[in-house]
């Protein structure tokens, strides 16, 4: 019985560490709320650490296609993400235009985009390291020019 308890404790500790690892890079979070009528509500929360891993399960031809489409702007995304990692807390853009509002900032190493307009509210939060990883993965699949 004591042995079982100890095994459970060891297993629990490992599980806790695995959980900590899964979330150590933060969350990729997308919230879209359409506030009009029967508007849709989309809420996606994904541990950022699994995004680059999940990309390995995408069929290679699809990745090649995505890499080719993204080829022109991936170096830019990669450069922006890499540089923004040096600014973990920064207000970058804020635009108020009547009821419309856009705010782009970094917080705790995440890129946060908030956009409000009548009938729609969008919040996106993505760890900068994840953007960098994904852009590198996609760039690797882009055909050489």
């Amino acid at each position: 019985m004591v042995l079982l308890g100890k095994i459970a404790l060891g297993f629990g500790a490992t599980l806790a560490m695995a959980g900590a690892y899964t979330f150590h890079e933060g969350l990729l979070r997308v919230d879209v709320d359409e506030t009009h009528g029967k508007g849709s509500h989309v809420h996606v929360w994904v541990p950022a650490a699994i995004v680059p891993m999940a990309m390995h399960f995408i069929p290679r031809d699809r990745m090649r296609d995505a890499g080719e489409r993204a080829r022109n702007f991936m170096p830019l995304v990669h450069a922006v993400a890499k540089e923004l990692e040096k600014y973990p807390e920064a207000e970058l853009v804020e635009v108020h235009d009547g009821p419309q509002y856009v705010r782009i900032r970094t917080h705790n190493g995440n890129l946060l985009i908030d956009a409000n307009e009548p009938g729609q509210i969008v919040h996106v939060s993505c760890p900068l390291a994840t953007i960098d990883d994904v852009s590198s993965e996609l760039a690797a699949f882009a055909p050489a020019s």
Binding site: L3, K6, I7, L9, G10, F11, A13, T14, M17, A18, A20, Y21, H24, N72, P75, L76, H78, A79, V80, K82, E83, L84, E85, K86, Y87, P88, E89, A90, E91, L92, V93, E94, V95, H96, D97, G98, G109, A129
Partner: protein
């Protein structure tokens, strides 16, 4: 397994799990320390547009100059390549911009252009390595004021590229070497526009 090792099994399991993930933690820590040190001495370019119309539009943009310097070379679009923008009129209507700039740069401080009319007052002057342009438009109900302050070193850096192109990255690099400075200030009936440089990553006003 001896009774002694059985006692330590949960501890060993915990330590094994910890050591397995330790390198990641170390990486996260080093990345965090890089982040905090990376922010020291950063120069930020701020743009603020406040509209006094009914909608009350406001635009605030804060850009770290170092980021702009690193990112611009990654843009390869239209006339912008390798941080340089190609413009077709460096010799505009027979005026050689480089020669004109060289003449201004090498001349003593002073007011080069003064125009005073019923519509507007315009002055262009050079003082302590800066080029000042001041426009006072008298036609609008509330007189509009435009003030532009350009460090000559920035202009020199912009023109350091080959003919017919402006080296934006070199210009930004030169700008980063300047102290806190207000580059553009426009005040008129509808808008207040400010472009300035400092070391703060937020605009408080």
């Amino acid at each position: 397994m001896t009774s002694r090792t059985r006692h330590f099994f949960p501890v060993i399991a915990f330590l094994a799990a910890t050591s397995l993930f330790a390198p990641l933690g170390t990486r996260a820590q080093s990345s965090a320390s890089t982040s905090s040190t990376g922010s020291h001495g950063d120069r930020w370019l701020h743009v603020r547009v406040i509209s006094t119309n009914a909608k009350g539009e406001t635009v605030r943009v804060n850009v770290p100059l170092e980021l702009a310097e690193k990112v611009l070379p990654a843009i390869d679009h239209d006339r912008l390549h390798n941080g340089k923008v190609r413009i077709g009129c460096m010799d505009c209507d027979g005026v050689d911009v480089r020669t004109l700039f060289e003449a201004v740069r090498s001349s003593k401080d002073g007011e080069f252009v003064t125009v005073q009319s019923n519509d507007a007052d315009i002055s262009v002057m050079k003082k302590e390595g800066m080029l000042f342009v001041h426009v006072h438009d008298k036609n609008k109900p509330k007189h509009s004021q435009v003030e532009v302050k350009v460090p000559l070193k920035v202009v020199e850096a912009l023109l350091s590229g080959s003919k017919d192109e402006l080296d934006i990255v070199a210009g930004l690099h030169a700008l980063a070497g300047q102290g806190d400075v207000e580059l553009v200030s426009v005040k008129d009936d509808d808008n207040t526009i400010r472009v300035w440089l400092d070391s703060k990553n937020v605009t408080t006003d």
